[in-house]
């Protein structure tokens, strides 16, 4: 049973309690300077963006079929069946392919450290696996960030869109973006306003590489036979050449 977060921007009051709770849970410093930063970074995994009196959270979408997990050569990123996409620092070699590939630009790097790690929201994996809700959902005073079963949250989001169509852009962001995500967003402003791309493909991105990678074993077999065959066919000429090469070597000896 996959868990999810539903964030309804129309209920958000920009109290930034979620930012603070997130920092605490991840043992990161939090103060006014950090609070004022409007970008996600290695020391700020979630951020409440403000455009006038409208707000929008950004956090790792914890994709159903995560691009980051698919590209990581050492399997440091992994999707749990409960929903969170987790990161195992001890595996990571810092190639940063996950950062380049993530369609939402989520993973951040500790650029200032000599031995850096990738940083991203992991949907409070330890808490969720222990049956609790995420830290951000727990502190949210208005219910703008809500934690629950993904199916139920989708039904609820649809209900809200149905009941108050004038309040919302008619779209549940994350329902089918790159194959669906564990974070679902509702907003009254177009999602692009806050840097959420709406032109993303609807199928999981890992498919794009899998289509090619899955052909490799066949190609190796075919290529081996083909090359070996060509060599065998032209081999006679090689024997002639080898004889000639021997003469060369003999001449060298002299």
């Amino acid at each position: 049973m996959s868990k999810a977060i539903l964030y309804d921007a129309t209920l958000c009051i920009d109290c930034k309690l979620c930012e603070q709770a997130c920092a605490e849970r991840n043992h990161l410093p939090y103060n006014d300077t950090v609070a004022a930063e409007q970008v996600q970074s290695a020391h700020k995994y979630t951020v409440v963006l403000a455009k006038g009196d409208k707000f929008m959270r950004r956090l790792c979408m914890n994709c159903d079929d995560p691009t980051c997990a698919s590209v990581c050569p050492v399997g440091a990123m992994r999707k749990t069946k409960e929903g969170p996409v987790i990161y195992e620092e001890a595996r990571c070699m810092g190639c940063r392919y996950c950062m380049v590939a993530c369609p939402f630009g989520v993973p951040k790097y500790q650029w200032n450290k000599v031995l850096p790690a990738v940083c991203k929201c992991d949907m409070c994996a330890d808490r969720v696996l222990a049956g609790k809700m995420t830290a951000c959902a727990e502190v949210c005073p208005t219910g703008a960030t809500k934690f629950g079963e993904r199916d139920e949250l989708i039904a609820e989001a649809k209900q809200r869109l149905h009941d108050n169509p004038g309040n919302y852009v008619n779209h549940i962001y994350g329902l089918d973006e790159v194959g669906g995500t564990s974070v679902l967003l509702l907003s009254s402003l177009p999602f692009e306003t806050f840097g959420y791309r709406t032109d993303l493909v609807r199928e999981p991105l890992p498919l794009f590489t899998f289509r090619v990678l899955s052909r490799i074993p066949d190609l190796v077999g075919l290529g081996g036979v083909l090359l070996g065959g060509v060599w065998w066919i032209t081999n006679r000429r090689s024997k002639v050449a080898a004889a000639e090469g021997k003469t060369n070597a003999d001449e060298k000896e002299k």
């Binding site: 996600q40 970074s41 290695a42 691009t67 997990a69 590209v71 990581c72 050569p73 050492v74 399997g75 440091a76 595996r91 990571c92 070699m93 810092g94 190639c95 940063r96 392919y97 950062m99 380049v100 369609p103 630009g105 951040k108 790097y109 650029w111 200032n112 000599v114 031995l115 850096p116 790690a117 791309r197 032109d199 993303l200 493909v201 991105l205 890992p206 794009f208 590489t209 899998f210 289509r211 090619v212 990678l213 490799i216 190609l219 190796v220 290529g223 081996g224 090359l227 070996g228 060509v230 060599w231 032209t234 000429r237 090689s238 050449a241 000639e244 060369n248 001449e251 060298k252 002299k254």
Partner: protein, 394 residues
């Protein structure tokens, strides 16, 4: 004589200056971290160490597998005299790619992790394995030259016995990772600019690797004639130029068909930064060399052929940089300019490569006909080439 000596010392000064700058940058990189020593950022995590050192480095070493396949599998024996310098270049190229990776990886000491931690869905995982295995293959292909020098007969015989399977393995591994470097970007259809993003990226990278292999062979032969007074006969190189023209044409047609079918061709009319770099890549680095190589007069002149080869190489370098940097800047919303440290490290790696090449040619039988005892062999090689001229020519 005196002039030559001065030129020699000048180059030495340049070389040591590059090395000094590179070493200083190295210290910065490993004591202060990537943030202090590069212009990389969360929005732009891959810079020239990946875009140039790794992508172009691997590409430029493609001569190794192209020539190995031509000589040992297709038995086009007349290219044999240049096989050693080419294998040496490829081997050095891959070693240097690994060195560059050590700079780029945040946790370089875990570079071996893909050996034991597997994610077969990752293109990077596949590239890591292929590069590792292929570097080993290249080392084994290069080893006979060293053994020959040291007169170690037994290992030499063992290596000779497995040489054909080794060559086949090498060609397959190269095919895989040359194309996979293109596949790296397949997963970013929404990020890479449509002039470069294509489901055919792996195919493009592979075909261009073959083209580069040929162009680099021409280029290297010219260079070695200049500095080591040894080169292939022109008809032979012209023949390579002829093959190169065909390979480039196939590549160009595929590129344009692909752009057309994806509806991206109209982007060429937009006055954008990306457009200019695309035109530079395609017009100067692709169409121009094709036009040159199809003209017999140019193809059969040393200067013309050399120029066409250099344009091809520069064109594909531009292509790799466009894919890895230009094409990614739009989505990142910034312009990336490498920091001096990034360039210093790159320059040091390149200079190191040249130095190693020079050393190897000095102490190893890379150009077998150099020096006194090999004089006779040289005559044979030349005579054979002359005999084959009717075939090589029209």
């Amino acid at each position: 004589m005196k002039q030559r000596l001065m030129r020699f010392t000048l180059w030495k000064v340049v070389f040591f200056a590059i090395m000094a700058a590179g070493l200083y940058a190295t210290v910065l990189r490993f004591t202060r971290g990537l943030g202090a020593s590069t212009n990389l950022s969360d929005r732009f995590p891959w810079g020239i160490w990946i875009g140039f050192d790794v992508l172009c480095g691997v590409m430029l070493a493609a001569g190794g597998f192209t020539l190995m396949a031509a000589v040992h599998i297709f038995h086009i024996e007349r290219f044999k005299p240049i096989i050693r310098p080419t294998v040496l270049t490829a081997f050095l190229g891959y070693l240097l790619v690994c060195v560059a990776l050590m700079y780029d990886l945040g946790r370089y000491y875990r570079i071996w992790h893909p050996l034991v931690m597997r994610n077969p869905h990752s293109v990077m995982f596949e590239v890591a394995w292929c590069v590792m295995l292929y570097t080993t293959v290249l080392a084994l292909e290069f080893a006979p030259i060293v053994f020959e020098r040291l007169r170690l007969e037994k290992p030499l015989r063992i290596l000779r016995a497995v040489s054909i399977p080794l060559v086949i393995l090498g060609v397959i591994l190269s095919t895989l990772h040359q194309s996979s470097l293109g596949s790296l970007y397949l997963i970013m259809p929404n990020k890479l600019y449509p002039l470069w993003y294509s489901p055919l990226l792996p195919v493009f990278f592979f075909i261009s690797a073959i083209g580069i292999g040929l162009a680099m062979t021409i280029f290297e032969s010219y260079m070695s004639s200049k500095y080591f007074h040894r080169q292939l006969e022109l008809p032979l190189l012209s023949e390579l130029g002829r093959i190169l023209a065909v390979v480039l044409s196939v590549y160009a047609v595929l590129r344009f068909e692909d752009l057309y079918h994806r509806g991206a061709l109209k982007l060429v009319l937009q006055p954008r930064y990306e457009t200019y770099l695309f035109l530079l890549e395609v017009v100067v680095g692709l169409l121009l060399p094709i036009a040159m190589l199809f003209r017999r007069r140019i193809r059969e002149s040393t200067g013309g052929l050399y120029l066409a080869a250099v344009l091809t190489v520069l064109g594909f370098i531009t292509n790799r940089l466009n894919v890895s940097i230009t094409g990614m800047e739009g989505a990142a919303g910034l312009h990336y300019i490498p920091k001096w440290t990034e360039m210093a490290v790159t320059a040091m790696i390149i200079a190191g490569g040249f130095a190693l090449f020079g050393l190897a040619t000095k102490y190893l039988p890379i150009f077998p006909e150099k020096g006194e005892p090999a004089e006779a062999a040289a005559v044979v090689v030349r005579r054979r080439a002359v005999e084959q001229q009717p075939v090589a020519g029209d």
